[in-house]
Symmetry: C3
Subunit: 286 residues, 3 copies
């Protein structure tokens, strides 16, 4: 997750960027935006996505970690993937050293982005005047998180939203790829809408592994599927053929040109990704 | 539907909030927004949702009734769920006593929100200069409704859009819950994207019924399904377990923790929701 | 595709209108918008759609051709349907005689709109300072196209983005309807989210054909399906009944009232659409 920040060449009010698992069928995202427009008229609203698989904290955390750096430095991220709404998990707002602010439930959905942004200060969203007058037990996105983001945008200080968090923020652990004697073994972290299978194997891990087998090439397998070769771009494979490549996540992913690797390999998050060396032969040369 | 209005603490141009059943596959919503941007550049556009089930006037009416109060007081709601496009149903604009304005077909999709907002004045959208030059028989969202909303936003008076409506506005009747001797019986009004089954049983109706059985607890059933207990929040049930709760609609709904009640009970709009009392026993105490 | 341009009655900054096949599940569109907001804060962003079927250059080209005229004259269209990302196809920006500017891959997705808008000048997006610092092989929407659109919006000249295109722009050929002795034969070009089957038969072609059979009426068939009559509006058919009509595309389409013609006729792009005359009889009169 080494995407560079887009240079900010101009000024203007930072947006509120919204990421949820609310989907697109209901009025839930609209209700949140209505609340923001009521409290902070003129705040630019940008949807990151609302298509995170329902209640998938991990998928939401990855989507946020993959996109936050693209936004202006002072962006407020409003993140609601919240299976524990109405229970003990805390609603929080976090100021980071990178400048960005994050608002959402403290269930790990913020944690991968915060690892990069560097949390500087976190508060629990508890101040009644910065919530809606009536707080439901099921829709904190509307009743607590949207108002907090809107008030922050208007200039309310982080500390005014509630007391400092006593314990640390909840952290999601990403499984690390493991290097064995004859193989590098990781797993599928994320499946995107095209059916691309994104693994936890980064460029560095792959390069280290490859360096041990200088005369050989690498092949990739999903679970017990057929071996797949590593290419520069999706378009380097024939239509309908699988390939492995470093996609926009900067992680090794398995794709099918103009098709879905998730369908082809009947695989999803947690599927095993194995990389191993094989000898270059005339038959395998491009 | 007693959600409180978010306090408007600041001023600025009110948004145009858009709700349709056009879905997300086509350019239809984009074409409407292009028309608005051409007529009223700078108008803030907010999507409520475009995922209303196709041609479902009732689902659109409920989504609108559930969200309009969240928006700034002078918001213009542009609502297009319009199975009768090109036929006798009238295109209308309505000024309400609450301040909000509504633009859409007079087929009932506006009626649940209007009941709350109090219609003060309604006109038929007939003035040619406030429509596109060419009006199709199939896409009044683009040709009639979007231009009307955009012109209203620019300050055109409601009366300039067309003549006052002679007959009343079309009204949707929501089935009321019925209280029997030993049960309270309602029905599913709305199924959301998480598969939550939202009934027509409000807090007051449930409290009245419960008061008749002071020593007992209440159980809820969808059609002939297994009985479900009432909880405070989704998270109070075990993962995969069903529960009943008052969700963000302020109506009794049946949900499955981290799952879909619509799938679990194979139920949709119109399914019977029954509430009945049972004796507290040690086994049932939490 | 003869939709009239919405009259632009007011001024203001033209929007960036975005059309992709990225879908709504992932953060990809959000990442593009973050890049734009970083480079061109304040640029109004309007989604045309992100639901173009994955890698369907033709569907994207049709959606763009059907919507671009609705937008303000100086709109910048950012279009990413790009199955060949990372390969030889060129990233381009095009200034048109109509005023609109288009940014996207030169694979034909722009071509139907450009036919109408009149390309005046086209450049290849090659200038490093107007791309992100690191360009991936899989996500040019974020790394090349979004920055180009944002810089254009800020006032960067088209010529600064890269060298003039040496060869012409790639052109998509739409199959034309063919008139036979006893029938007019076209094909399905586009299937929308309601399941409407939009053909390549325009009003003029149909009128010419009809003029040869003055005493007769016309019937329409999808593949070998049951004959369907031509109506003014969807609502002119009974619920659940099929009809043919000129929809918002200004092309003959086959629909099912409150249903899906794509499902009813099990048909999609490429299905044969046949129009033929039959004698008026009392039984057929409305």
């Amino acid at each position: 997750m080494t995407v560079r920040h887009a240079t900010s060449r101009a000024s203007g009010p930072a947006p509120i960027a919204i990421l949820t698992d609310f989907g697109y069928r209901d009025h839930y995202v609209g209700a949140m935006k209505g609340v923001i427009a009521s409290i902070a008229p003129g705040a630019p609203l940008i949807d990151i996505t609302h298509g995170v698989p329902a209640q998938s904290v991990m998928a939401g955390a990855i989507a946020l970690a993959q996109s936050w750096r693209m936004f202006p430095r002072r962006t407020i991220f409003l993140v609601v993937v919240d299976p524990g709404v109405g229970t003990a998990r805390l609603p929080v707002a976090v100021q980071t050293r990178a400048g960005a602010r994050f608002v959402g439930p403290d269930n790990g959905v913020l944690s991968l982005a915060l690892e990069e942004a560097g949390p500087a200060r976190a508060v629990e969203l508890r101040t009644p005047r910065y919530r809606l007058a009536r707080v439901s037990a099921t829709f904190h996105g509307r009743d607590i998180f949207a108002p907090a983001a809107a008030h922050l945008w208007r200039g309310v200080r982080l500390g005014a939203l509630g007391p400092a968090l006593r314990d640390g923020l909840t952290h999601l652990e990403l499984a690390a790829a493991r290097e064995g004697v004859e193989e590098l073994r990781g797993e599928v972290l994320y499946v995107d809408g095209f059916g691309n299978l994104v693994s936890n194997i980064g460029r560095d891990a792959l390069a280290r592994f490859a360096a041990r087998f200088p005369a050989m090439r690498l092949s990739v397998r999903i679970d017990a599927g057929a071996p797949v070769e590593i290419r520069e771009a999706y378009g380097d494979a024939r239509k309908g053929a699988p390939l492995a490549t470093f996609g926009s996540f900067e992680l090794l992913e398995v794709a099918v040109r103009d098709g879905s690797a998730a369908k082809r390999f009947a695989a999803g998050p947690g599927a095993v990704v194995t990389v191993w060396p094989f000898r270059r032969t005339a038959r395998h040369e491009p």
